[in-house]
Structure formats: structure tokens, C-alpha cells
Symmetry: C2
């Protein structure tokens, strides 16, 4: 039984490090989140939460974390007094529940993307954080990453002229049995997992929110795609002299991770655009002259830990906020409504004034891929 | 008054060269069609047809063509006995009328793309050619071009695995006053002029015809775009385990001409993909290994003249046929119906068995850009 709601303890005052529990020890937690603590000077890996005793034991030993909890013991973790924040790396449909429980216990919440499965879930998480006076951030790693921030700066600065178009392709081969192939109600499918990168990219490159969307989904009938679609292709209409964005995402394609912004006098190609396990590259052509730029592989997860910890320590408002998470989820949901109904779907106006800027950049060296414990790469 | 229909004279028997009249002396005729005759050994530039006396005189002198006709004298040209075929490079809404008149006079028709403005126009042209026993071909230059044919061969040969996605961007800056900015009823707008390349590419790369399409058009309100849209973005659903294609075309973007096919185990990027005035390039990645290939600039118009003349001389059926022209026009029209109505549009099954193959390749050296007479580049 969950404990009664109480006022959040002011544990963090005067402290230099924010103590995190990492909740969920799947692939992304193991290859990216846990190793990132080595680069996050204001953050401490204080506890592990998993349903797998072997993961708890092996990873606890590897990272010298003595506080280990099963999911059933999550309340004990929250009440233990040894964690200030949780990093939620659970399956998408569990984000809301675990975020609300952490908030009620006065523990700050850093939550993987997608923020949750529905708009209602996102709003409930925002409300829980507000009511319990805890910080809430959604883990958009590219909001701290040089290539992405430079792209936003270039486009918003008018270097391409008026940015009129965005087009993106994000595809990978997801293995049968992977959690990404869950039914849509559990947050499975390519839109929740990778389409969200395209949506987040164009919203911030254009500095605007889509007003109308349409989508086609497709399925080749393989057993892998019994519970979610194989491919979704989408068009988004933006206000501000009617810009258009298109993207396609698939769990049954060779690795492609790219977007292109076409302006009235130039274009920016980011390729690869969304990766965390390698270099990112830009090709910018303005007035017919092309310049290429490579951004080195870096740790994209430590910056999230650092930024969120800084907000906790200073009282600043985290960005990307819950509203940023909701902004993408509402587009995903509209796209699925369109794909299901065969009709375009209009979106209500949605206020987002806070856009990522170059000042948010945090650079940390890359991590080495650690040995995996009872998990595997989602892709072939 | 048009002359009565008559049996086509069998002028071509025993002849080595097909005598063409080029009808319409705008930009594409001047920079590409007229110079191509120098590389078309079985073709002869026999007559010029234009409403501009200065073009007739200067181009007639340059190419040593004494037979020069105004549009009002088109019947005289057809009846003169000195032309076997016309190359129609007129504004799109005039294609049907001039094609029908040529056919009725027993003169073969090679017509620029788009074949015509409506499906009805295309069918009337096909019927006129059949009834009058003349050949009809639509001038898809890329059907004879190495890069495009290699791409089709690669994709159809299964090198990328199962080709699941196509995505394309084709944009340019069209100058105010250019004929491409005509109202849609006259065949103006980006779909008729450049979107058609994306449609033609994916139809032949997939070897299939779309079954359902959706489109958004957009307009920034500039005076240039008072009569046609600025941008159209489209999604096409193909049969055969539900493949999806997307493309966006615009008359208000920096020069971009690219497509990408993503298969289950590799991708092909063509960039530039659709140009005739420069090199074409492929980047093929299969199982993670990337290979780049550059295809030299070549004359893409002489091959059309040569292939069509060969069909006239031998009696073979021309490809790309009128059916190929219609196959694209019906997709364009469905996309505009979708953009207008806001609804996806279903397409009837459409039989196209003849697909371009490597055997169609014809190589000719590039032409130099000649001095223009009373015309200018459509782009900034």
C-alpha cells in the first residue's frame, strides 16, 4: 500500500550532489545512464531499482551501489532517505505511475522519453510534480547536444533564409520480442520510440507547434508487427506562413537517422541526426556553397543528469519540462488518430515559449559500452 | 480549320533519319532539346515552331533549320511533308491539343512531361495516336539515364533487401512570372513540374502503382504563389506488403534534388537525383558498408530522340508510353484532390507492366549551354 502523501523533505539544501535512483535496468540504462554518472560531477548513483535480482547484483557491484530495490520495494526506495531523484527508464506505460509515486514521496523525477503514453498521463505527471513541489524533467538528450543546438541556432538565426520545409527519415531493425514492439496502449510502436525524435526536432527547429497532421501507417504482416505498426509516415502543417514537415519512421528498415531543413536560400542536412553511439554530422549548403561539419561522439546522458541536478540544487525550472514532453505526446496521439481514421487531425494551439538554445550545451567525453546483464540491443 | 483525318503517310520506310519539328522554343527546348540533335544520329532537326519570330530566326540560323512556323502555321508544318515527328515542348495545357493535331496529320508525337493536365487529356492523346497509327512517347529523360536505371536495377534486384520506404525532396526557387507558376488548370504548380519526378521515380523503383495517397499543400502568401501552391507534401501507399513513399516539392526552396530508398538491409541515396545539368550521385549502404558512385553529366535529351526515332523506324512500341505519362498524371490529380479536400484519396488499380531496365540506357556526351534567345532560366 502506498504511503500517505506528505510534504517533500528538503533533503537537498546545502548539498553538492543529487542522489539518483535509476529505475529500470534495461538496455538504455545499462549502456548509457549508469555509465554517465562518472561524468556528472553534481550527481551520484545512489540506488538501483529492477525486477531482476541478477541485474541488481551485478550492476550494483559494478557501480558500487549498495542500495538495491525490486519494483515491489519502490516505496522503500523512495522513503529510504538516500535518494533525491529518480531516473525513470521503465517501459513507457509505467512512466506515469512511477513518476507520480516518486513525486508524492517528494522525490524529483527525470523521465525517459516518451514522457508517457497519453496526454492525460503527461498532465497527471505535471500535476503531481507541481502539487508535491518536485522537479520534473523529460530526458531529451539532444537538448544538451552541440549538433542539435547548433542546428536550431542556424535555422532560427535565418542562415537558410526562411525555413520552409523539414523532412526526416528514422529507421532501424528492431528484433522480435523487443519491448518497442509492444501494443500502442503500452507505448509501443515506432512513433513513440523514434518518431518522437523527428517531432521534437522539427518543433524546435521551426520554433513552433503543428496545427494539423496526417499519417499513414503500414504493416507487412510479419509476426514482429502483430501488436504495433511497422512504419508510420506523417505530414505536419505548422503556422507561420504555412510551413510543412514530413517524416517517416520504421522498425523494419536499415539504420537511417537523418533530417533536412530546406530554407528559401539554403539547406541543412543532419545525417546521422539522432544517434548517441557515434558522431553526428551536418552538411550545410547556403547560396550553393556546401560546408560539412562532424560533431564528435560524446556522452549525451551525463548532461541530462547534470542539468537536472543543477535545477534541483538551485531551484531553477528544468528544461526540457513536462510541457515539452506533452508537446510531443499530443502530436504522436494525433498522428495515430489520423492513421486510424484516415483523416487529417487538427491540433489545438499549444504554448511553448522555452526552446533549446546554445547556452544549454554540456560537453562530456563518450562512455565505453559496458558488458550487458540480461538485456540486449533492441536492434539487429 | 484542321484538315480531315487521313491515313498516315508511310514516310519513314527505308529512311535512316526521323525528321523532327520542335514545337515550342522556351528554356528547355533551347538548352536541351535543340542541342541534343547533334548527338542523335537517327534524328534530324527539320522544323521549328514558335510564336516568337526572333526565336525562329535566330535559332533557325544557329541550327540551320529553314522550315520555321508560327503556332498559327502548325497545320502547314504538319502537312509540309518534311516532318515525321514533333517534339512538343509547349506549356502543359497545350500538350493535348498539339499532340492530337499531329496525330491526326499522321505525325508521330514525342511530348514533354507532364503528358497533359488531366487524365482525360492523356487518354485522348493515347486514343488519337492509336486511331491514327502514330507513335506516342512521353519525354521522361531519366528512363534512358544510367544512374536512374542502375537505381531501379539495384532496388528491384533485392540488394537493399525488401524495399519498404521511399522519401524524396525536390525544391527550387522559381522566379516570379515563370510559366511554372501558372494556375493548376494550366498545369502549373510544383506537382506537375517537379513532383512528377518523385512520383515517376518511386513507381519504377517499387515497380508498383500507388493505391492510396494523401497530400498537404502550403502557401506563404507571396505574390509568386497567387495562382498555384508553394509546396506540396505527399504520402503514397503502395500494395505489396504495404510500402510507403513520401515526397515534398516546392518552388520556394534552395536547390534540393534527392531521394532515398530504405530497404530491410540497406539504403540507396540519390543526391542529386533528378538533374540534367550536372553529375548524378548515389550513396549505397548495405549491411553497414557504404559505397559512393558518381555518374557523369551526360546529354539526357538525345537518348529520347534516338529511342523514339528508333521506334518509328522499326515499328517498335515506344517506352515511356502514353500509359506511363497517364500513370503519373493520375497520381498528381489524386494528390490535388486530397490537398483540396483534406481527405486521403484511393486510386483504382492501374496496369503497368513495362518498367525501365538497364537495356534502355543510351549514353551521349553532355551539351554546352547555348546562348538563350528571349527566354531565361526558370530558377533564381
Amino acid at each position: 500500500m502506498p504511503p500517505a502523501r506528505k510534504q517533500p523533505p528538503k533533503r537537498q539544501s546545502g548539498k553538492k550532489k543529487v542522489r539518483y535512483a535509476v529505475v529500470g535496468l534495461g538496455h538504455i540504462a545499462q549502456v548509457a545512464v549508469l555509465p554517465a554518472f562518472a561524468h556528472a560531477q553534481n550527481s551520484e548513483l545512489a540506488a538501483l531499482v529492477s525486477s531482476d535480482p541478477e541485474k541488481l547484483e551485478k550492476l550494483g557491484r559494478r557501480y558500487k551501489v549498495k542500495a538495491r530495490f525490486s519494483y515491489d520495494q519502490f516505496e522503500d526506495c523512495l522513503q529510504s532517505g538516500i535518494v533525491d531523484a529518480v531516473y525513470i527508464a521503465l517501459p513507457n506505460h509505467l512512466h506515469r505511475e512511477f513518476a507520480e509515486r516518486a513525486a508524492r514521496a517528494g522525490v524529483h523525477v527525470l523521465c525517459e522519453k516518451p514522457m508517457a503514453v497519453t496526454e492525460e498521463d503527461c498532465l497527471a505527471m505535471i500535476r503531481a510534480a507541481e502539487e508535491n513541489e518536485v522537479k520534473l524533467m523529460v530526458a531529451y538528450r539532444l537538448h544538451f547536444e552541440e549538433a542539435n543546438l547548433k542546428a536550431i541556432d542556424l535555422v532560427q538565426g535565418g542562415r537558410l533564409g526562411d525555413p520552409r520545409l523539414f523532412d526526416s527519415v528514422f529507421t532501424m531493425q528492431v528484433k522480435q520480442g523487443d519491448i518497442r514492439l509492444n501494443p500502442r496502449e503500452l507505448g509501443g510502436g515506432p512513433l513513440y520510440d523514434i518518431g518522437i525524435y523527428c517531432i521534437n526536432a522539427v518543433r524546435n527547429l521551426f520554433g513552433a507547434e503543428p496545427m494539423e497532421v496526417v499519417a499513414f501507417s503500414a504493416n507487412n504482416g510479419e509476426p514482429r508487427f502483430q501488436q504495433c505498426e511497422e512504419i508510420t509516415s506523417a505530414i505536419l502543417r505548422f503556422p507561420g506562413r504555412e510551413r510543412l514537415a514530413s517524416f517517416v519512421c520504421s522498425f523494419n528498415g536499415a539504420d537511417v537517422s537523418t533530417y533536412r531543413v530546406v530554407g528559401t536560400k539554403g539547406e541543412l542536412v543532419a545525417d546521422p541526426a539522432y544517434e548517441y553511439a557515434g558522431e553526428l554530422k551536418h552538411r550545410v549548403t547556403i547560396d550553393g556553397r556546401t560546408r560539412e561539419r562532424t560533431f564528435p561522439k560524446r556522452d549525451q546522458f551525463a548532461p541530462e543528469l547534470i542539468s537536472f541536478a543543477e535545477c534541483i540544487l538551485t531551484g531553477a525550472a528544468p528544461e526540457p519540462s513536462g510541457w515539452e514532453g506533452l508537446a510531443d505526446v499530443r502530436v504522436i496521439r494525433a498522428l495515430y488518430r489520423s492513421a486510424d481514421s484516415g483523416l487529417p487531425v487538427s491540433l489545438e494551439p499549444f504554448a511553448r515559449d522555452d526552446r533549446p538554445t546554445l547556452e544549454q550545451e554540456i560537453r562530456r567525453p563518450p562512455v565505453n559500452k559496458p558488458q550487458l546483464v540480461n538485456t540486449e540491443s533492441p536492434t539487429k
